[in-house]
Symmetry: C2
Subunit: 213 residues, 2 copies
């Protein structure tokens, strides 16, 4: 009897992620895995980005949530293609979930695919989806201790959006320490200070984003 045991579940995920990556590249799509804690403002940032860039860039979205379709409905209002994945309990998206919905999107009509991961500062950073880049959002209300307590996501992300800066006057968040600790974990991470509410900093992030392809 020959029992095969998957000892490296992340290797298995990476193989499917490679398949996704080839399919997305063949369609000429640049793919972003957008991560962050619950309520960091991932969907709000997406709405800002879509509003500013959709005239020159064809954006598609995959929404990942444990349950519900709130976020997909918010995105659909902006007139871009969107698919909602409900993980039904899983605390992160994996490559197989993404692979199973790619054909639901009009890939030939998308330049940039943004995958909004499940709200979680831990596991999403461990699972490649086939993306070109990981970007994370952290609300300044979460506090400056987040890099030290959740190092992996900061290490794996190419950009860190520090969101809700409009609340800075009412918080004790030490932005200098937040940024220094993020940079100490990942010296190459690009940091943007943004308020989706006032739109402060959104333009700078969008300029950078549209220069990536």
């Amino acid at each position: 009897m020959n029992i095969k045991v998957v000892t490296k579940i992340l290797d298995a995920n990476d193989r499917i992620a490679d398949t996704n990556r080839r399919k997305l590249k063949a369609a000429g799509i640049y793919t972003i895995n957008l991560m962050g804690a619950p309520g960091a403002g991932k969907t709000s940032l997406l709405e800002c980005v879509i509003g500013r860039l959709k005239s020159g860039l064809r954006i598609g979205v995959i929404e990942g949530d444990i349950a519900g379709t709130d976020d997909a409905r918010r995105i659909a209002l902006h007139g871009v293609p969107v698919v909602q994945i409900n993980t039904g309990g899983a605390c992160h998206l994996d490559a197989n979930m993404i692979g199973s919905v790619l054909d639901s999107l009009p890939l030939a009509e998308i330049d940039v695919l943004i995958i909004e991961n499940v709200g979680n500062l831990v596991c999403p950073a461990e699972f490649s989806l086939g993306e070109d880049m990981k970007i994370m959002v952290s609300s300044i209300t979460e506090g400056h201790d987040k890099p030290c307590k959740y190092p992996l996501m900061f290490q794996k992300s190419s950009a860190l959006i520090l969101n809700k800066t409009d609340l800075l006057p009412y918080m004790n968040t030490d932005m200098g320490k937040f940024k220094a600790d993020a940079l100490s974990l990942n010296p190459k991470i690009k940091i943007f200070e943004v308020s989706c509410k006032t739109q402060d900093g959104v333009g700078e992030f969008c300029d950078w984003l549209s220069g990536l392809r």
Copy 2:
């Protein structure tokens, strides 16, 4: 060859949780599993509770984090026994982690043990630690859509602390919807509106907490 396969990992966890529960009960300890997203204010709430209750109630704390000892150091300043667990990547505490540190605490000198789980709105709700009660903290800055998107934690918790209410004037959070959706998932959940910064509502929560035993 007889290969045993653990098909129900949560059953295995529950068996260890029962052992923890018996040990804690034998020591006369009431145990709380404190959960919530990163930056919801779990440690700040703990500091408020310890400050108000430690003269009449002997409190002990277990801190759960992916990495670092920031929270344990904050708690130790209040002069109560504390142990830090670093999960090293795991996004939640499990019963075995708790069982392995119980002997590091002076159990005979503790009335209430508060276990601060890893910051995560998903998986901590799935793993019993041997606690008497689960309590969750959600910052009002996370937004009123959290019950619909992360239902399990709201269903499993006996109390919901809506923290950072001092920021309400600057937010669009619909507190009525937040509370109604939480109650619709769990009609028995006890809801407290609290600001650890201004101490608003902290007294009411502490009164309720000290009446539990």
